[in-house]
Amino acid sequence: MAAFVEFLPYIFSGVVWTIGLVAGGIGIGFVIGLFMAIGQIYGGGEIKAIIHAYVWFFRSMPLLVLLFLFYWGVFPAIGYKLDPLACSIIVLGLRSGAYQSQIFRGAMLSLGDTQLLAARALGMSELRGIFHIVLPQALRISLPGWSNEYATMIKDSAITFTLGVLEILTRTRYVVMATHEPLIPYFFAGGLFVVLTYAGSKIVNTVYERTKTPGLVGRL
């Protein structure tokens, strides 16, 4: 039996780290994205301009540049020495927020303004109308786009190996270095990403089917 086989559990335990990166990144991105989408549609001119600049910045920079910029540059400059995992989650989250804001924004715009108009005509404040009427519908519409964001993020998370975060790829590289056997370990690592992507998409798909409004067309 080749030496790398006994290291496979070591690689496998990187799954927890990868899931942590993705869950943290998607979660932070969700909150940022949601509020930015609301701000971009209902906010004043200044708020819109700030959000526009933010989205433009995070969508234009390579993830690797962002990671290095924040890990070596931004956080030390403001006096924080974050560990690689925390920094990676924050960067993935900030970046995902830019992408997710556009998913949510598109969904909210596709609803048109008549839903909010009807809510306001009943005496709901704008904020209540957004939270009770617009968002529940917009989030459902967002799910297919959101599934895409998850599939992208799970694979992007591997780039954090450059900071030494102990996710799947980092561990695999250690094993390859120790055993001088690249084929099976990298194949195994790739397989883990395939499974994670598939499982995540399945979950989002199930949520979509379960929360679908009866009678409205459209499936994932």
């Binding site: 008549t114 839903q115 108009l117 009807a118 809510a119 306001r120 005509a121 009943l122 005496g123 709901m124 404040s125 209540r128 009770h132 009427i133 529940p136 519908q137 459902r140 409004t213 009866p214 009678g215 409205l216």
Partner: protein, 248 residues
């Protein structure tokens, strides 16, 4: 007096949509607004519940001026039931929840209490059996009746209808008009933008004919429909009467 409008003006992009509109509605009165498209009918309704702000002029709702400094616009809108041409039901909610959501969120009613009241309102528009259905599962006529129930549940002092049957297939118009007639007979104060002259004839106290942002002519339904003085109004009803006769 429930509603009083004085010299209302509204300009959109250099276009004078409302150009000095004045009228009053007393409690229990039904007034119908007619007029060609682009004459300012919808804009008028939206100015009256402050979904749009008029440029000039004053509006009173039950003695309270709502065009001046208003503490809470949402409170004003709660007193006005608004029925849209395209229903605008909340697509993610059942018929029942469409009616009860504002009761819970705006009126702060308990969930059970709101549900009971919503069911009562749905019964009024003959939709109690469809309470659990979603808008996409309802016909246009049913949707509009849910929208009427949704507005009624807030116990408004006046109802605004903005061409409530214009988006409906002809065979569904009757069921909506029947509900509106029933409410009119119960003396629910209403302002109705519509071209349904049969409805106007049977329940309206007055027809106000709008053109170019003004009320061109007003009076009892029979007089306006049969013997209008203004040339534009004559032409308009001549065409509508011809259409009506063909359908009969």
């Amino acid at each position: 007096m429930v509603l009083k409008v004085e010299d209302l003006h509204k300009t959109y992009a250099g276009n004078k949509v409302l150009n000095g509109v004045s009228f009053e509605i007393d409690r229990g009165q039904i007034k119908v607004i007619c007029g060609p498209s682009g004459s300012g009918k919808s804009t008028l309704l939206r100015c009256l519940n402050l979904l749009t702000h008029p440029d000039k002029g004053r509006v009173w709702l039950e003695q309270q001026e709502i065009t001046g400094e208003v503490d809470d616009v949402n409170k004003v809108r709660q007193k006005i039931g608004f029925v849209f041409q395209d229903f605008n039901l909340f697509n993610h909610l059942t018929a029942l929840k469409n009616v009860s959501i504002a009761l819970e969120i705006v009126r702060k009613m308990k969930r059970d209490e709101a549900r009971d009241l919503a069911l009562k309102e749905l019964r009024k528009v003959n939709l109690a059996d469809d309470a659990h259905k979603f808008p996409a599962e309802l016909s246009g006529g049913q949707k509009q009746r849910v929208a009427i129930a949704r507005a009624l549940a807030m116990n408004p002092v006046i109802m605004f209808y903005d061409e409530p049957t214009s988006a409906l297939d002809p065979h569904l118009i009757g069921e909506v008009l029947d509900v509106m007639k029933k409410l009119a007979q119960e003396k629910l104060t209403s302002l109705v933008v519509t071209h349904e002259i049969g409805f106007a004839r049977s329940v309206a106290d007055e027809i106000m004919f709008m053109g170019d942002g003004k009320i061109l002519e007003r009076g009892p339904p029979n007089q306006i429909i049969e013997n209008p003085k203004h040339e534009v109004v004559q032409q308009f009803f001549k065409r509508i009467n011809e259409l009506y006769r063909r359908n009969e």
